[in-house]
Amino acid sequence: MRAVDGVSLKLEEGEVLGVVGESGSGKSVTMLALMGLIPFPGRVKADKLIFNGRDLLTISERERRKLTGKDVAMIFQEPMTSLNPSFTIGFQLTETLRLHEGMDRKAARRRAIELLEQVGIPSPESRLSAFPHQMSGGMNQRVMIAMAIACNPKLLIADEPTTALDVTIQAQILDLLMTLQKERDMGLVMITHNMGVVADTAKRVMVMYAGQIMEERSAADLFASPQHPYTAALLAALPERSEGGRLATIPGVVPGLYDRPKGCLFSPRCAYATEHSRHVRPELRPWAGGHIRCHYPLGDPNRTAAIQHDHPIRTETAS
């Protein structure tokens, strides 16, 4: 089974890419593949996987490990379970430094304190000997960030970094991530199902659905005039965009691994689905300064005619 299919993405140095989609749309799996963290028995079959001029698919396991955690780092959704409960914060933080930077115990300790300061943890020295369960979720996520940026990575992947946190803490963590990104000019991939987070952070946005890219373009364009019906539906579900008292919702759920439709993956939930889109899966094609995977992009002047021509399915119920 293909959990993720036909995804191609490119990230320049210092760029912030937002990857959005509902739960189960393959955002995390894509990034885990990039990190080489796909759990057994999953496999990555990519044509190209190039980081900083090196093809990650051809280098050895050992070479690759030298990159992961150093040049490419990742932070995860659940800070409370992502840190090892049996080791102190200090140990887990200095471990990376000693491995990748070859620091001795003292140097690593000094650097760890600096890092904890940078991510805004008060009295960092005493925190070094604390265990993860003694700190709050927000604090643990700061530690995770400190661990990720410890070796000055060129690319940081943040997988739903704020989802598990309190609302008030979410904004702080996002601010921290953005500040660090600007200071260090590192590439940042922000995976989230939260359109609001993307709007605040990303320059470029990639919308994923059921393991495929649906739309990909600059954030400003995407928010101003979404081209894919799915993007439009996601945006309409934003509270600040809602008209009247009720939030717009998208009927249905993301198809699972085994019940993917034959045609366009979004067609069962799409308001504009036709006989054609039910049977023929659209290709990802260049469109309006980005890419789109749709037969009838919203900005296409001929789309009404095209839809009519292809026997629309929901005309009666859509209105």
């Binding site: 996601l234 934003l238 759920v253």
Partner: protein, 303 residues
């Protein structure tokens, strides 16, 4: 924040009705080859035990010194009339093993039955009345659990006097805490659920509640524990028999047979080998069955 509320479409109703629970259980159970093997062995042992007088070639207690220590039939000096050889006083080992199956099964089932009945009642009482009653019962069970099980059984038998009945009582007491704990835990989780509340409100008495509403809901773990308990009971009773504290000679109990055979270990390997093999296979079968039952009955443990 965005909302991600997705209304489930009406068309996506479940396609098939869920299978009958028993059928579903069998599906999980039969996928576990070890468990099926265990079940087959147990059925075979039960059949052997039931038909013992018919299939045993000889009377298990007839002695014949002329035939003492005959080896199994495939060894020189053995004969097909005594397929697994004879013991030091000329009794047929196969016949004794076949009759011993009756004893071992009887021990396993009787011990677990006693334990389950007493244990469940104690557990239900502890779980329902809480307070001092609970503390008293559970503390007592903790103490029983702390002591090494065979040591406790030995001490009990030493006091009551050696014999099969006393050995069975001792083993029943030793495995009691498992059932008490299970029943109590089940009562405590079940009583916090709505249906028990509903039954209480509608005026059901405590006794009725205990046996009619709560007990049926903790049968699954009890069945699993019972299967594992039978294997413990057979093993411990055989150990007591081996030490001379369980069934007494000339009873063909497997552990007792081993105790008799011990001094001949240097001369006749077969008198030692077969009774122990019988114990091992039977105990292993009940353990396989118990593991399989647990996996099939407890979806929480499935991965």
């Amino acid at each position: 924040m965005t909302t991600e509320t997705m209304e489930a479409p009406a068309v996506a109703a479940p396609t098939a009705t869920p299978p009958h629970p028993l059928r579903e259980f069998w599906g999980y159970f039969s996928a576990n080859h070890g468990a099926v093997a265990g079940l087959v062995i147990i059925v075979a042992v039960v059949l052997v035990a039931l038909l013992a007088p018919v299939i045993a070639p000889h009377d298990p207690n007839i002695t014949n010194t002329a035939l003492a220590l005959k080896p199994p039939f495939w060894q020189e000096g053995g004969s097909i009339a005594y397929p697994l050889g004879t013991d030091p006083i000329g009794r047929d080992i196969l016949s004794r093993l076949i009759h011993g199956a009756r004893l071992s099964l009887l021990i396993g089932i009787a011990v677990v039955a006693i334990s389950i009945v007493i244990g469940t009642v104690l557990g239900l009482v502890a779980g329902f009345f809480r307070g001092l009653t609970e503390i008293f019962i559970m503390r007592l069970m903790d103490i029983v659990l702390t002591l090494p099980s065979l040591l406790l059984a030995i001490v009990i038998v030493a006091v009551l006097g050696p014999g099969l009945m006393n050995a069975m009582l001792a083993v029943a007491l030793v495995i009691l805490p498992h059932y008490v704990r299970l029943a109590r835990a089940a009562v405590i989780t079940e009583t916090s659920k709505d249906y028990v509340m509903a039954a209480r409100v509608s005026g059901a008495g405590t006794t009725r509640l205990m046996f009619k509403e709560v007990l049926p809901n903790c049968t699954a773990p009890l069945i699993v524990q019972a299967s594992l308990g039978i294997s413990t009971a057979i093993l411990d009773a055989a150990a007591l028999g081996f030490l001379g504290l369980g069934a007494q000679p000339p009873s063909p109990e497997w552990g007792t047979m081993l105790a008799d055979a011990r001094e001949f270990v240097l001369r006749a390997w077969w008198v030692v080998t077969f009774p122990g093999l019988a114990i091992l296979i039977t105990v292993l079968a009940f353990n396989l069955l118990g593991d399989g039952l647990r996996d099939a009955l407890d979806p929480k443990l499935k991965r």
